[in-house]
């Protein structure tokens, strides 16, 4: 009997009925609202130079702590600067810092973590130990030490400093996910057909690890936007220009809160919505692809 005669045709018919798995899950309306908000924020901050906005640094556009109204949608701060314009220009800094830091963390931590998780042995011990040291050092103090040691705190310095902080958590997650998938039989199958390690890492493992990493990246941007705020509160964020953190700091002295609470509340509100959207979208992406959560 030849193998062809064995093909049960019905098998193929049954297969056509198999529904596409993708319809089974949906990301939900909340996810799309989050994405819409993020897109809005990103587009506005990108377009800030061409939008008809007041000069964010110009002093005395309005009176001190002037309330929100027709002249300035978000009111004016203690120096009479336009809060609306400053929030938008501030978003450029905050988002850029968050984004660059996460990308730096992903580019360095991701490959290191994957290699540690795939090769195990001494590679794993060295990399994991390095991550452990990075993690056990108090994060903000580390950031402060780096930031404080440079001449000027440019946007690049602050972003890369926060990027250093992102390496260890990103790397640990990459390692944990790689271990989960490296134990699956399809990796053994690839070895059996003679695939080399680089091929297994890039073709077999990377597509699987990429999705939880992407979800983490969204959460990471949120965490790092907050971290920039923390640095700002300690007076150590980017020197030039407005950031959300600096604005909240300026508006949060008891005096400012008393006379012009809007100065702090608008950036807090915008930051809150953005961080919330990033968190929510990240969670949904992770849920959607059903990846095991790892606690670290």
């Amino acid at each position: 009997m030849t193998a062809d005669a064995q093909i049960p045709e019905i098998d193929l018919v049954a297969l056509e009925e198999a529904p596409d798995d993708a319809v089974k899950k949906s990301l939900g309306i909340g996810f799309w609202i989050s994405v819409a908000w993020l897109v809005l924020i990103v587009v506005i901050s990108l377009l800030a130079p061409v939008l008809p906005l007041a000069d964010p640094e110009k002093i005395g556009l309005g009176s001190k702590f002037q309330s929100p109204g027709g002249e300035g949608w978000f009111g004016f701060d203690s120096n009479g600067r336009d809060v609306f314009s400053r929030v938008i220009w501030g978003s450029r800094v905050s988002l850029t810092v968050g984004f660059i830091a996460v990308v730096a963390g992903l580019l360095i931590g991701g490959p290191l973590g994957m290699m540690a998780g795939y090769f195990r042995g001494w590679v794993d011990r060295v990399v994991s130990f390095a991550f452990l040291i990075l993690l056990s050092f108090p994060a903000l103090i580390l950031a402060l030490l780096i930031v404080n040691s440079v001449e000027t705190r440019s946007l690049r310095v602050v972003a890369l400093t926060l990027g250093v902080l992102a390496i260890a958590p990103v790397g640990r997650l990459a390692r944990a996910n790689t271990i989960v998938f490296a134990e699956r039989e399809f990796v053994q199958a690839a070895r059996v057909v003679g695939a080399k390690n680089t091929r297994i890492l890039t073709r077999e493992l990377l597509p699987n690890v990429l999705i939880p990493m992407g979800a983490l990246a969204l959460l990471g941007v949120a965490i790092l936007i907050v971290a920039e705020g923390g640095l700002a509160f300690l007076g150590l964020s980017v020197e030039e220009g407005a950031t959300w953190g600096k604005m909240i700091l300026e508006g949060s002295s008891p005096g400012a809160l008393k006379d012009g609470p809007h100065v702090a509340m608008f950036p807090i509100g915008i930051m809150f919505l953005t961080v919330l959207a990033l968190n929510y979208a990240g969670d949904k992406v992770r849920e959607f692809f059903d990846v095991r959560e790892t606690a670290f």
């Binding site: 193998a3 064995q6 297969l15 053994q188 057909v193 003679g194």
Partner: protein, 334 residues
């Protein structure tokens, strides 16, 4: 059951793969090691199907994975066409790999969920394409047809197929490299009974069609008997009985083989149901018993079973070997 010794090794030019004194250990922390496989010797002739049967923890999967070097081998040799697979490393090992392919237990986990099945099947060809000559999509279609998957579904991903279909895809992937030896590690244990026979028949067909030599691992005694020419019964890292499939099930000599055959829900007619009354638990493979490894559960033990490891001995002139100091005597056949 300590089955050591080279008695079951055949001096036959058709022998394709010969495993000698294979030992595999896994560290489990604090200096302890699991003695997963402790000195097993057997061979497989070209075109033969060798079944390895035993309960969980007996080391049958470890043997399979050691042969294709998915495990580290502690000692022993695996001769394949002049190579000692146990000693090969790096590029020379990779070069032999296409000859020895494997089908895995879990059909879902053995396929990468993020890749199209066309890419899964062609993985080996993509790796070796240049050295084995070029390959075309026709080859993939041919393979898919051979295992009964419509080529028009090549762009789907594994989760869109059933377990049985995934196992067919796994078989197609293994066949793509024209292997000599196919190692099947519990290939049907994750499948529904109604689909199991499809895959077993497919394996038989592929064996005929592509001239394969099969190593078939399973815990299911009926399944192993159905596909195998020769069978090894393993217990706690050792072989206790090796022989021609029909002969071994007809005249089991080792008390453990008899216990297994008596324990299946519809016991083999060749054994006494009371043979299945072995008690106690499987001893720890970290501290396996001295002497015969079956001595903690055997009904026939004497002093020698606790001191000396039994050697493999042959039953007359038959293709039937066992390692026991007190084999069950059978009047017929000798």
């Amino acid at each position: 059951m300590a089955g050591t010794g080279h008695a079951p090794l055949r001096d036959d030019p058709n022998v394709l793969l010969a495993v000698r004194d294979l030992e595999v250990e896994f560290p489990v922390g604090r200096g302890a090691v699991v003695h997963a496989v402790s000195g097993i010797s057997f061979d497989v002739a070209e075109g033969e199907t060798l079944g390895i049967v035993g309960e969980s923890g007996c080391g049958k999967s470890t043997v399979a994975k050691s042969i294709i070097r998915l495990n580290e081998i502690k000692a022993g040799s695996v001769d394949y066409q002049g190579h000692d697979l146990a000693k090969l490393e790096g590029e020379p090992l990779r070069k032999v790999r296409p000859d020895l392919q494997m089908i895995f237990q879990d059909p879902i986990s053995s396929l990468n969920p993020r890749r199209k099945i066309r890419d899964v099947i062609s993985e080996g060809l993509a790796v070796w394409g240049d050295e084995h000559g070029t390959w075309s999509q026709d080859r993939i279609e041919e393979l898919m047809l051979a295992v009964g998957i419509d080529p028009k579904f090549g762009d789907r991903r594994p989760h869109q197929f059933s377990g049985g279909q995934c196992q067919r895809i796994g078989i197609a992937r293994a066949l793509a490299l024209d292997p000599k030896v196919m190692i099947c590690d519990e290939p049907v244990s994750a499948l529904d009974v109604s689909v199991q026979a499809q895959v077993l028949n497919l394996l038989e067909d592929m064996k005929q069609r592509y001239g394969l030599t099969l190593l078939f691992i399973s815990h299911d005694l009926s399944v192993v008997k159905n596909v195998s020419d020769r069978i090894i019964v393993m217990y706690l890292g050792k072989a206790c009985e090796i022989g021609d499939a029909d002969e071994l099930y007809e005249n089991p000599r080792h008390p453990y083989t008899r216990a297994l055959l008596a324990s299946i829900p519809e016991p083999a007619p060749t054994v006494d149901p009371s043979d299945g009354d072995i008690d106690g638990e499987l001893p720890s493979p970290i501290n396996p018993p001295k002497g015969c490894r079956f001595n903690t559960r055997c009904q026939h033990t004497t002093d020698i079973c606790f001191t000396d490891e039994p050697k493999m001995q042959r039953v007359g002139e038959l293709d039937h070997y066992f390692a026991c100091h007190h084999p069950v005597e059978i009047s017929v056949g000798l």
